[in-house]
């Protein structure tokens, strides 16, 4: 427990020094005193440590938001960068081992921050990492990423970092944009103005300068000068708040001095970005443009991805099954009849295909997100939607994931990555499963046609309304009980200039993200499908057949479980094993709920569409069993079933992604929340509606 005591000290308190009596070097620690910090670290800090072992120098990257820090970090580390949560938080950190001249360095990318006095958990993580209060000791070198187009703010921040007295190297980004605005900064000149602090010009999108930056890091691990006009501070002995606030004026004076030496005078003029913003931030057109763009993204992740998904689900599945069959044929006659063949086809191949079908929408989402981010529009979207989302206590950028969720929850989760505040990210991640995705639509349609015929359209529409209301209500609930510290803050954000995205950097980042998704989600998806297969393969009783040869699902362990679960739904009107079996399958994917129903009634629906299924024999079978289980209030039970389907859990892939992006705990909480909400909703709906339907 001791190892994470920092995490229980929220907000500013967490930053006020907890006195550590290790060997703090009081002299001007620019010499190689750094390594001692590791050696003398108290043992209880070990729990909070990450990949690095003992004496590997730690290089921490820090900077304002949107300065190009992550691009630079990824250009340096490539696929070796690992995204993870800072210990005990959901704040994302990137880390990786870099080998320079045979020496291994531990590189750490922190969330962007304007200050070392944090206003959010993300900024707190950044501040702790750079001051060494994260339990890892002070970093051996700090790379401060400085945006040339926001130089005066960056210099102020740099001053704070320099005062920490650690070896510091400046990575100067965005100089190409600054040049376009006639305000290019010469790195050598800036270095002179900083009294010799090394400055390296880089461009994270092309990787230019990354090698030179790492060489500069290697050359200055032993120390860099502290510029005149700045006073070194000892974070262990000073009140952080007093230091940051008290020194602000001096830092601004110093920054003004540096700017003067750079011979920079603010060049005020109307830029291309300003002209674009006249339209995109316009009170009226801005909102229209935003909504059109959202519609475009939504269409792309659903309509555009659809054919590719169908192709993978049909053709690719066919190839895989044929390939498996051929392999089994080689193994000998009868092999294709074995349980192992069934496991491979119904378990493994199904898992691979399931993951495959998510690649098109995820890939498209990743591409669009990169385009939105890299063009500079996403920052504007936050601003345009600020007021509308603020009334729900959410960031303007939360609009995107929730809208995308109505197409497919999975890419919607990917879109939560654009929220810089980790609390917002998790909150929205937990709301996304309540967005009614198109897979759920197939369930509504069949039931609506089966039970409501003429009013089917209205019923489906009402389900969507319920989804929206649920998101609002669950959002309020979560903010009351779990995210109590999420409250609207004054909106003040730097807007980056618009720019044309770079294709190479884009393809690289999209491929890396896709790979991360496949690697992270595949284990859980495949293992769950194997479990499902096992349940259906094990016969329940002697008469039911042999292992993997159960003809009627009801006779398998799966059927028995469905039977056992069914009575739970008596208050909701569908105490029926067909329904509970379908809902269990729905844990994997909502697309298969209807197919599972048909299978359990032994009805071959062929290639009927949803309306035909609902009005045909499947609908009739469902009406019969729902009428029976609900005491002739089948329509009320059908509504309850639809509401349950809406809320009870997202599909398995989404759960896997929740786990990958946040944590196992949050994935479980999300599923638990969904189940509870769905059950309450279904019971309340049935108990009220049975008086009228």
């Amino acid at each position: 427990m001791t190892s994470d005591h920092y995490d229980h000290r929220r907000g500013l308190a967490a930053l006020l020094p907890a006195r550590r009596h290790d060997d703090h070097d009081d002299h001007d620690g620019h010499d190689a005193g750094a390594a001692n910090h590791h050696a003398a670290r108290p043992c209880c800090d070990v729990g909070g440590r990450r990949v690095h072992d003992g004496g590997m120098p730690r290089i921490v990257f820090i900077g304002n938001p949107n300065v190009g820090k992550s691009s630079l970090f990824n250009a340096i580390l490539g696929a070796r960068a690992r995204v993870m949560n800072a210990p005990g938080t959901t704040v994302l950190l990137e880390e990786g081992v870099y080998v320079h001249d045979g020496v291994r360095w531990d590189l750490i990318d922190t969330p962007g921050t304007y200050s070392l006095l944090p206003l959010s958990p993300d900024e707190e993580v950044a501040a702790k990492a750079v001051t060494g209060m994260d339990g890892d000791g002070a970093p051996d070198l700090i790379v401060t990423v400085v945006d040339a187009t926001n130089i005066s703010r960056a210099l102020y921040f740099l001053a704070t970092v320099l005062e920490l007295g650690r070896p510091t190297v400046v990575a100067l980004t965005m100089n190409d944009l600054a040049a376009r605005q006639g305000a290019r900064i010469e790195p050598a000149q800036l270095s002179r103005a900083l009294d010799g602090v090394p400055v390296v010009e880089v461009d994270g999108r092309t990787g230019a300068g990354a090698g030179a930056l790492m060489d500069a890091v290697g050359a200055h691990l032993s120390g860099t000068p502290l510029p005149h006009g700045l006073t070194r501070v000892d974070v262990d002995d000073v009140d952080l708040r007093a230091w940051v606030e008290g020194g602000a004026d001096a830092r601004f004076d110093w920054a003004a001095g540096v700017l003067a030496r750079l011979d920079m005078h603010a060049r005020d003029r109307v830029t291309v970005s300003d002209r674009i913003d006249r339209v995109l931030l316009n009170p009226v057109f801005g909102v229209i443009a935003f909504l059109l763009l959202m519609l475009g993204v939504f269409e792309a992740t659903t309509t555009l991805a659809g054919p590719a998904q169908d192709w993978i689900d049909g053709t690719v599945r066919g190839w895989l099954v044929a390939g498996v069959d051929r392999l089994f044929a080689i193994a000998g006659p009868g092999a294709a009849d074995s349980w192992f063949h069934s496991l491979v086809v119904d378990g493994l191949v199904d898992g691979v295909v399931t993951i495959g079908t998510f690649i098109p929408p995820m890939g498209i989402m990743f591409i669009l997100l990169s385009l939105l981010e890299d063009s500079g529009y996403l920052a504007r979207a936050a601003f345009v939607m600020d007021r509308a989302m603020r009334c729900m206590g959410l960031d303007g950028r939360a609009f995107l994931p929730i809208v995308i969720g109505f197409g497919c929850n999975l890419p919607a989760l990917a879109a939560t990555r654009t929220l810089p505040d980790s609390r917002q990210r998790v909150l929205v991640g937990m709301l996304v499963p309540f967005s009614s995705c198109t897979a759920r639509l197939s369930v509504y349609l069949v039931l609506a046609y089966a039970f409501f015929r003429e009013q089917a359209g209205l019923v489906v529409f009402m389900m969507y309304m319920c989804s929206i209301v649920l998101i609002l209500l669950v959002g309020i609930l979560l903010r009351r009980v779990r995210f109590t510290d999420v409250r609207p803050e004054p909106f003040a954000m730097s807007l980056p200039p618009y720019q044309v995205p770079r294709i190479v950097a884009l393809v690289r980042s999209v491929l890396m993200r896709l790979w991360g998704f496949v690697r992270g989600a595949s284990t859980i998806i495949i293992s769950m499908l194997v479990v499902m297969w096992l349940l259906q393969a094990i016969p329940a009783g002697a008469a039911a057949g042999s292992f993997a040869k159960v003809d009627d699902v009801h006779d398998s362990v799966y059927g028995v479980v469905a039977d056992r679960v069914a009575p739970v739904f008596a208050p909701a009107g569908f105490d029926d094993w067909h329904a509970s079996a379908a809902l269990m399958t729905g844990f994997v994917a909502k697309e298969v709920v209807v197919a599972s129903m048909a299978q359990s009634y032994s009805i071959d629906t062929g290639d009927e569409d949803e309306q035909q299924q609902g009005e045909g024999s499947l609908g009739a079978a469902m009406r019969a069993s729902f009428d029976e289980s609900s005491g002739d209030h089948g329509r009320a039970a059908a509504i309850a079933f639809m509401l349950f389907t809406l809320a009870y859990t997202p599909c398995l892939a989404t759960v896997a992604e929740l786990r990958r992006q946040y944590s196992t705990r949050i994935a479980m909480q999300s599923v638990g929340l969904g189940l509870v909400v769905a059950y309450i909703l279904a019971v309340v709906a049935f108990q009220t509606l049975r008086w009228v339907l």
């Binding site: 200050s115 009170p283 004054p490």
Partner: protein, 81 residues
């Protein structure tokens, strides 16, 4: 300026140099504004009006977006020269 309303980032004219006279938000956020480069004495220009009183202010090549409430709490005066 002899108006009954104080001149603020929200209601001041577009594209004219203005000097910030005061920022009336809570302590924590006032300091954050300062760290963003907005503090008493800073010369800015309002370059864009967005919805619900939101404003974009320019300071050299930097652009900072502010929501309406915050914008109305930053008082300004025409910058000399």
């Amino acid at each position: 300026m002899d108006t009954s309303y104080p001149l603020t980032v929200e209601n001041c004219p577009l594209d004219e140099d203005m000097a910030i006279t005061a920022i009336d938000v809570d302590e924590r956020h006032r300091f954050r504004m300062l760290e963003l480069g907005l503090r008493a004495g800073t010369v800015i220009r309002v370059v864009q009006r967005a919805n619900f009183g939101g404003r974009v202010v320019a300071r050299g090549t930097e652009r900072i977006a502010l929501d309406g409430r915050t914008a109305s709490r930053i008082t300004v005066a025409p910058a000399a020269g």
